[in-house]
Symmetry: C2
Subunit: 260 residues, 2 copies
């Protein structure tokens, strides 16, 4: 009887072409060679497992993360007939993974546990360095934004995002990326200030492609005064990507936790 | 009358071949091409200044930092006849520097100020992640050390480093790197624990090549029990690099401040 193993992963997205090995896109679309050759977290993990178990199990993540997006708590599962103890398995996987990805927790899950389908909600954090001078150390983990931000109006506008809504205006226009339904439930948006850092935590039952980054780009437009009060309500109503603000850079974003 | 400009710099040493452009070594020693071609902070700064002033001033740093070593507060100076206001100059330099280095402060110094010769003391910090699992995020800024450390014995041994001493045992064996005198005054060694991190701050009037990293490697040997009580006193007395512990990795080290 194979065990279903649940993994919690941390990774630095800087040098990854995102979570997922893009087999479908490789076959269907023209892509430049550099993008095809770029590493994915899923593939690194599958190759580590192949080394340990002498066969390559299929690893399923809770969902994609884009190129450059980090994770403190991505979740994935795979099945194995190996009887290796879990602590030993965790150490073996970590020993075979490159420096920029690691297993931080491992557990036996229910046999039919599915990292993607069983996810109840996800929490993403976007980090903004809001001061006049950029900082070289840690530059891959925040967006540098030197302009004054009105956090009060950002928080006020963010309230319009809460609830079960059609987030079509906040998803990327690439039609191959859009799932059938663009309705999602945003549970909370928490905008915090810690010294020079502004943290935007967003929890939802699921996220559309580039949804967090488009929400953050729009909130920044609100905070800097480019977009006025009531904008987010209007943007949601228009169901048009062009109505929302720009896409915030990937490097400020991290998947914090997946709840089941 | 040229002004002498004092700069405080922050940089991420990961992708630099250290602070200094290695002209002497290039001419005198065989080196592989990759090392010669690797970027230095000094050169990036000189090239930014050349773009702004249409000529390349000589930039003098407080001292070298090795390949991979970071800086929160490196100090450098250069002379210029330009009358550009300082804030404008800082912004212009930062606009012309790559993402991994930035000016965090700029000031007019006394005409004969010298970043290297006038330095009274330097403070370096070494950061150790001391827990069982490595962490991919921020991995370029600490040494991962999963073994138990006895901080009490490390602090006790560190006392033997304080004062005006011959640190020959703690400098690299490369003879081209050793200055005439190996005597330095270590003012304090402060070993702190913050959660999973162990921070070792060392202040001295100057440091020999690889001195901090060799001290840290030795302190880790003390903390893990490989070296016993009284070791550091013995090592200092032997004046032999082979007596001390291994060199700790560069990436855990940062130049915090230079005092004048």
């Amino acid at each position: 009887m194979p065990r279903t193993i649940k993994l919690i992963l941390e990774y630095d997205g800087t040098d990854f072409n995102g979570w997922q090995t893009q087999t479908a896109r490789r076959a269907n679309q023209k892509q430049n060679t550099s993008e095809i050759n770029k590493r994915t977290v899923q593939n690194e993990l599958e190759e580590a497992l192949q080394t340990i178990f002498n066969k390559k199990p299929k690893v399923v993540g809770s969902g994609r993360t884009d190129s450059g997006v980090h994770a403190w708590g991505q979740v994935a599962h795979f099945k194995t007939t190996s009887s290796m103890p879990l602590t030993e398995m965790r150490n073996a996987i970590n020993a075979n993974l490159p420096d920029d990805v690691a297993i931080i927790d491992i557990a036996k899950a229910a046999e039919n546990f599915h990292a993607q389908y069983d996810a109840k909600s996800k929490i993403y954090r976007y980090t903004i360095l809001n001061r006049s001078n950029r900082t070289p150390l840690g530059r891959n983990y925040h967006l540098f934004y030197p302009y004054t931000l009105n956090l009060r109006s950002m928080r006020e506008e963010a309230k319009s995002l809460i609830g079960r809504k059609d987030f079509k205006s906040f998803t990327a226009t690439d039609p191959s990326k859009t799932p059938r339904s663009t309705i999602r439930t945003v549970k909370c948006v928490n905008i915090m200030k810690r010294g020079d850092l502004i943290l935007i935590d967003i929890e939802a039952n699921g996220f559309l492609y580039k949804m967090v980054r488009n929400i953050v780009g729009t909130l920044l437009a609100v905070g800097s005064g480019t977009k006025s009060k009531g904008s987010i309500k209007d943007i949601l109503a228009q169901k048009d990507r062009n109505a929302a603000g720009p896409t915030a850079k990937a490097k400020g974003l991290a998947l914090m936790r997946v709840e089941y």
